[in-house]
Subunit: 496 residues, 2 copies
Amino acid sequence: MFESAEIGHSIDKETYDAEVPALREALLEAQFELKQQARFPVIVLINGIEGAGKGETVKLLNEWMDPRLIEVRTFDQQTDEELARPPAWRYWRALPAKGRMGVFFGNWYSQMLQGRVHGHFKDAVLDQAISGAERLEQMLCDEGALIFKFWFHLSKKQMKARLKALKDDPVHRWRISPLDWQQSETYDRFVRFGERVIRRTSREYAPWHIIEGFDPHYRSLAVGKLLLEGLQNALKAKTLKEPTPIAPLGASIDDRSLLESLDLSVHLDKNDYQEQLLTEQARLAGLLRDKRMKHHSLVAVFEGNDAAGKGGAIRRVAAALDPRQYNIVPIAAPTEEERAHPYLWRFWRHLPAFGKFTIFDRSWYGRVLVERVEGFCSQADWMRAYGEINDFEEQISNAGVVVVKFWLAIDQQTQLERFQERENIPFKRFKITEEDWRNRDKWDLYAQAVGDMVDRTSTEIAAWTLVEANDKRWARVKVLRTINEALEAAFRKHKK
Amino acid sequence: MFESAEIGHSIDKETYDAEVPALREALLEAQFELKQQARFPVIVLINGIEGAGKGETVKLLNEWMDPRLIEVRTFDQQTDEELARPPAWRYWRALPAKGRMGVFFGNWYSQMLQGRVHGHFKDAVLDQAISGAERLEQMLCDEGALIFKFWFHLSKKQMKARLKALKDDPVHRWRISPLDWQQSETYDRFVRFGERVIRRTSREYAPWHIIEGFDPHYRSLAVGKLLLEGLQNALKAKTLKEPTPIAPLGASIDDRSLLESLDLSVHLDKNDYQEQLLTEQARLAGLLRDKRMKHHSLVAVFEGNDAAGKGGAIRRVAAALDPRQYNIVPIAAPTEEERAHPYLWRFWRHLPAFGKFTIFDRSWYGRVLVERVEGFCSQADWMRAYGEINDFEEQISNAGVVVVKFWLAIDQQTQLERFQERENIPFKRFKITEEDWRNRDKWDLYAQAVGDMVDRTSTEIAAWTLVEANDKRWARVKVLRTINEALEAAFRKHKK
């Protein structure tokens, strides 16, 4: 895998000096076009052997190109705000917006390689990390990102020669870093595991480029040209991906559906309600004060038919708690900054720190519900969203986030009555809009979308709870009880 | 000052139960209107005696109102990301957007009071903090924010009675917090310094409301009604403030101006340039590696005539450094989220952590330059910006940020030549737009604005450096040298 990068590639100074000016101009042009189109972000991952010119090359790119459009990010020590959230949070918060370029040093690959090289874990865990990286990059590319992955290489001989030369040079000796010495010990392991990572994660949409790093002219020109070609290609393409024909999901063939199989006649009388509500609220308050919450956070997702009582249920949950413990995030149309990032970015940015609780009033499921039904995104987009969402929930769940998801279901008659009531009560009138009436006409389409959503995203990790919500009391108690049970289950599994 | 809040205010249950429903409806209506108008944010500061119902009241407000539009923030322990930036950064990042309500527990007042009560500093420092709070609130209100400041009060007798009652109650004993015990020791000092703070910071645009906290019915109704009235008033007002007639700044009466007094003929020949540039770049690289940078960060602001060579100067600065050390923030039109916050928010969010360097390519001075000249903001807005900017720079400078500001000046003939050159060179053509030509027609207006800007914001803390930029070489070296001198001066002053 590294053979071609150990043959002593080099470019003489004359050739280099002759080629650079045109390359620079072309890169500047491409960068400007990137900014003008603002259609996709560029992510450049920098990995490889210490001393192979990673830092120098990034510095040079900043000189050649317009550094105002480049964001260089390092990921060393995690800050305490990062430690309190799932591992990928730090990468999500650093993603460049459309039209800009982000250079990631010390990215997900460095983390997994360091861990494996130093024996913090075995191959199985490395492979998990590799799959995680693949899913992340696949998603980023599906969202339009252009990814370059560079591995700067030195053969063992080149590495040793470089270290020796530096050591003997009193002026440049200081440039040998602790990482250099470390790598001279671990070179073989680093290259072996590096190969495993590269082999598994080189994909047509985000291939690795292995660059022999010994000769600065060679590596600079090689990287510059790869960047230029990739950029020009992507800028020329009308859309970033050819739409592939997708088979429809298929409707129910016996006219039975999950939602219709719910028994919406269940209800609670007022006394039972009062008693159970208070019990469950007290239980939730206690659970959130439990010291095991230090290693967990809680995310509750509320989806449901219009007028199904999401707001009321959320208020009963909130009422149990100190307002300093929770945060409610209402999801409406995305802001300009949110639209300039991958779909899930706006949810990642609101993930709670450990010990905290975030309630999403509507959520990332918008893509497979309203966006699907109203045609706000392509079929390919919402079809791949199922997998992306499962992956997202698995990631955050693995990091200790307890995920609870509710679909509040009512029947059409109940919805009609509530709409009419809302129109007649002054302080409720703002809860009903033209759009609500329009959505009602698409009842069956939404029912189909909900069925598919539950079939595809109700998982052991983050199950959907269908809530019979014709009776608000029943619904509110069920919501609270479900949250409590999920927290208790998480605490039981917790073995620290 | 607290007399009225120690007389045993109370509301009986019947009155309370009778009044609450209408109050709730009205609050919900107002909140909805707030969201619809999305014209200003609401900031609620919660302070006062422990046990006087601060937490309970906020909880109740979240029950009465729509908690999805309320963000409750606490400011306890600073995170390490906060510790690496000026103290106010944590408040800026938590500011609610227009149309939303932010409830701040443990805000700037709690910090200053705790510090003074526990003797971490004396009155002089308290008074500095008070002035800082005043300036912050004045700015927020000028930007449209509606601020409520509540002080929940208990007389010493009431506080002791409450503690005794709780202590004797086996069921509720756990509700006594360490803060309660602490306060029973420090009550007198806390109230004394509290009075000083309230007295100085109660202003017509952000008055304090002192609420006797012993009776829950009284305090809840009192707070609810104050909020409602304040909200309704602000929602009714067409604009939040009456525009007051403002005297113009006055133009030069002898036709001499600061910019014209610059000697634009200064220049460097190629050899001197090469030598001096390399020297200054090496010096900057060394300074940023200095261990004293741990307690400092560096902010460089680049403003100047169009085509004065800002980009080129920035690149020469960047070229000295490892791209991981700096960040370049190009300032163009604000995003939607930025427009929903006070003017300076978009700059606060990009402040570097200690050890880092942020280059602003155009900056917060946009308000007194392009926004003033083009009429994008009112005269009152840009007039007050001078003071706000001085305050901002003083705050960040006090926290260890080294601020360097450049105006790159060229004459009209040089600008014309550069415009023409840009139009003729393919990879430079994107640097010139119709707008640049239009701005040129306003040369004198901009010159006047620059003169006023320098006169009003060139301070001992953050001086303007006027850079003669007809000769690019001269300009680049002067920029680098000025940054280096500023860093060295900061290091010399540093006494840790």
